[in-house]
Amino acid sequence: MAQILADRRDVDFVLHEQLNVETLAEHERFAEFNRKAIDLIISEARTLAVKEILPTQVDGDRIGARFDNGAVTVPESFHKAWSALTEGEWVALTEDPEWGGQGMPRSVASAASEFLLAANFAFVMYAGLTHGAGTLIETFGTEEQKKRFLKKLYSGEWTGTMLLTEPEAGSDLGALQATATPNEDGTYSIVGTKIFSSGGDHDLTDNIIHPVLARIDGAPAGTRGISLFIVPKIWVNEDGSLGEPNDVVCTGLEEKMGIHGNSTATIALGTRGECRGLLLGEANKGMRSMFLMMNDARLMVGDQALACASASYLYALDYARKRIQGRDLLQIMDKEAPSVPIIRHPDVRRMLMIMKVYVESLRSLSLYTSYCSDGIATADDPDEKARLQGIVDFLIPIAKAYTTERGLEVCDLGIQVFGGYGYIKEYPVEQLLRDCRITPIYEGTNGIQAMDLLFRKLGQNGGRPILDLAEEIRATIDSAAAVDRTAEMADAMERALIRLEEVGRNLGLTAMLKIQVAAGYAHPFLDVCGDVMVGWMLLWRARVAAEALEAGAKPKDRAFYEGQLGSAEFFTTNMLPLALAKMDVILSGSSVVVDIPEEAFAGR
């Protein structure tokens, strides 16, 4: 079966055999999304991705978004793909149907999106950002604002962005300087310059709605004085019709390493003093609002990296099956022996195994996190909602940072499997690596994610979320321990979990006594948390597969299920011991990172 972008069998396995997402349809909110609907959604997302979006991938990279004479254009092929994407209403999958969204469970939307993202995530970002901007208005906007903006955003008639970063305010948004001055008509005059604005300007749609962070005159310093505004590129009248251009000017695009198809714009607001914005939500509460979108966006960035990794893996796997090169090692002395596909060579198999293990486990981790979000939406019990929210909050930095780094590693291996051909543009794997490289950086660098995990999430609610998560993991371990073929792996996971709990407690103490030393281990801590999470997912998958095999799986499914047991075994024997070693490193608590004098890094 010629699988590209994402393995349909594996996506179905996670949705239906690991998570049983169709049970969400038992709740009124998701009643429309029965098994039949989910299968059709995944099939059609895949069709759209392969037939309409994938053909834009190379254009996006080679032509890219261009800035000329003050106007930004995207490749011609993007317009047709945008029509297909918006006509099928793929922009607002999870949003409220009352405002034009599709009301889909996040887990299903995320699975469908993997195909779209794998086909060209720089293109799909225009829709992703629109979803984010719309969600902000849906959550914090007034009824009037929702009527004015939402349907056109959710239909993709307009797109959205998020204008946060300024030259002196990147990771530290509290330093931002854009200002908002109240006008008599209730609007605000916005002045400032925003950089690194993804999808900041383009010719895909007639209008672009920018949520903008700015400081109202006289507001407190730091993040507590930041407010959020809706700033349309073209002013939107109260009746929804378009007014005059709103003094929102793109002054240039960044020349980037990858995702060339997405315009990364510098946007000057109010250079003529005529940029108007509408306050979105309460004054000075902009950061809180923006974090809602950022949490969502962080999961999406993880999904972008997963999608790149998945595509790279399947390209590499296909290549390894077809590329004939070198004799089988068992016939290496026989000069007459035929050359074999490179998938027969153990080192190539080793690389493919690493790729397989990460793609599968990260897919499970992503969909599990989304599935917990669906659980929050459907749970009636407030305690259960809080429990799931804690788990989601804890997993977000991992699903962002760990997934993007491992996704990048998979893309790197994808090139290695191709050898020299992987390094040239004739094959898609080099673009996937370049595109993927942004993901550990934006939406909060992975360093920021690690700090968030260690200093905020670990101790949140007295450490309740990690205890709840450990309980979930132990439930999987217990069930896997009762199945012959996964019992040994379950034992190894139990040891790793106990060790991780020890590391968490130890680092928590260090954070109180020697905060800098702890901060130096924040990233390694996130890394081993991620290792345990993917180990958990692999064990869960292996247990489901072992049970399916025991129950007498269909012949066509047997190889797939054996593959699940293989992934879990490979991780347990080849990768989990390394995670334990990394935990030892953290427990060593070396302070050298902090102690070494700045001058000692190298001469000036």
Partner: protein, 263 residues
């Protein structure tokens, strides 16, 4: 206008590497990805467009086992309001006439003005549409690449004929048209369409419900049987003849003589 569109679930050539099964009577069907027959997709799109212009309903019908449901629903999601799955163990192994017999029985159960089929399906026989029309005693046009509707009068239809030419005909309704690819650009199925059809009750009719005698359809009633399935032997590559016109002509004559083409 009430329109019935007949669709078939077939192995998707873009998704599968097709190989012949061990007994040589069929392709290897384990682990195949199926989708709707490409020609039928154009037929559904055309039906939906006609219904959008003239009003009325589109019904999707398929002769298949339970697995056919996804394809029927998928095609309904393009804009059809109803679907119908014709399934019975007795239908398995039907030849073209058998399939047409089953579809004709379903058509007689409704009040359709127009029936569309794809021009052909995976077996390439292009026979079901014509046979269906004959069984219903309705007029029929094949390889249709244009359908224009009038408020009262006959349909004005275009047919693809040899050499890429087109002929225009008028045809009275009710009628059967087999639709050629390229007649339109089929829409993608959107999320809203899927949400609409996912929970619709899909009626299923068996031989008894259709009033069909089991002996007339399926393997029992089939008068055409496939006896062999094979990949043609690879022939030697073509020889490109070079030289002046005279030299080329001489070489062709030599070759034809040598191969027995002329004496």
């Amino acid at each position: 206008m009430e329109i019935l569109v007949c669709v078939k679930r077939v192995p998707d050539p873009a998704e599968n590497e097709i190989s012949i099964g061990p007994d040589g009577g069929d392709i290897e069907r384990d682990d195949l990805v199926y989708s709707v027959n490409e020609w039928d997709n154009y037929a559904v799109e055309e039906a939906v467009r006609i219904a959008e212009r003239t009003g009325g309903n589109v019904t999707i019908v398929s002769v298949d086992d339970d697995e056919g449901e996804e394809v029927v629903r998928r095609q309904m999601a393009m804009g059809a309001s109803q679907g119908l799955l014709l399934t019975d163990e007795a239908f398995e192994g039907s030849d073209g006439l058998g399939t047409a017999t089953i579809l004709a029985a379903a058509a007689k159960n409704g009040t359709y003005d127009l029936i569309l089929t794809g021009a052909q399906a995976d077996d390439g026989a292009a026979q079901v549409g014509g046979m269906l029309a004959a069984l219903l005693d309705w007029p029929y046009a094949s390889v249709v690449n244009l359908v224009e509707t009038n408020s009262d009068g006959p349909l004005r239809i275009g047919r693809e004929i040899d050499g890429g030419s087109q002929e225009i005909n008028e045809i009275e309704t009710p009628c059967v048209l087999s639709i050629q690819t390229g007649i339109n650009e089929p829409r993608y199925v959107g999320v809203r369409g899927i949400r609409k059809v996912a929970s619709i009750e899909l009626p299923v009719m068996d031989a008894e419900a259709l009033g069909i005698s089991a002996e007339t359809v399926g393997t029992a009633g089939a008068k055409v049987r496939r006896v062999d399935y094979f990949v043609p032997e690879q022939r030697a590559a073509a020889e490109m003849i070079e030289g002046s016109t005279e030299e080329i002509a001489d070489r062709i004559v030599d070759l034809l003589r040598a191969q027995g083409g002329i004496r």
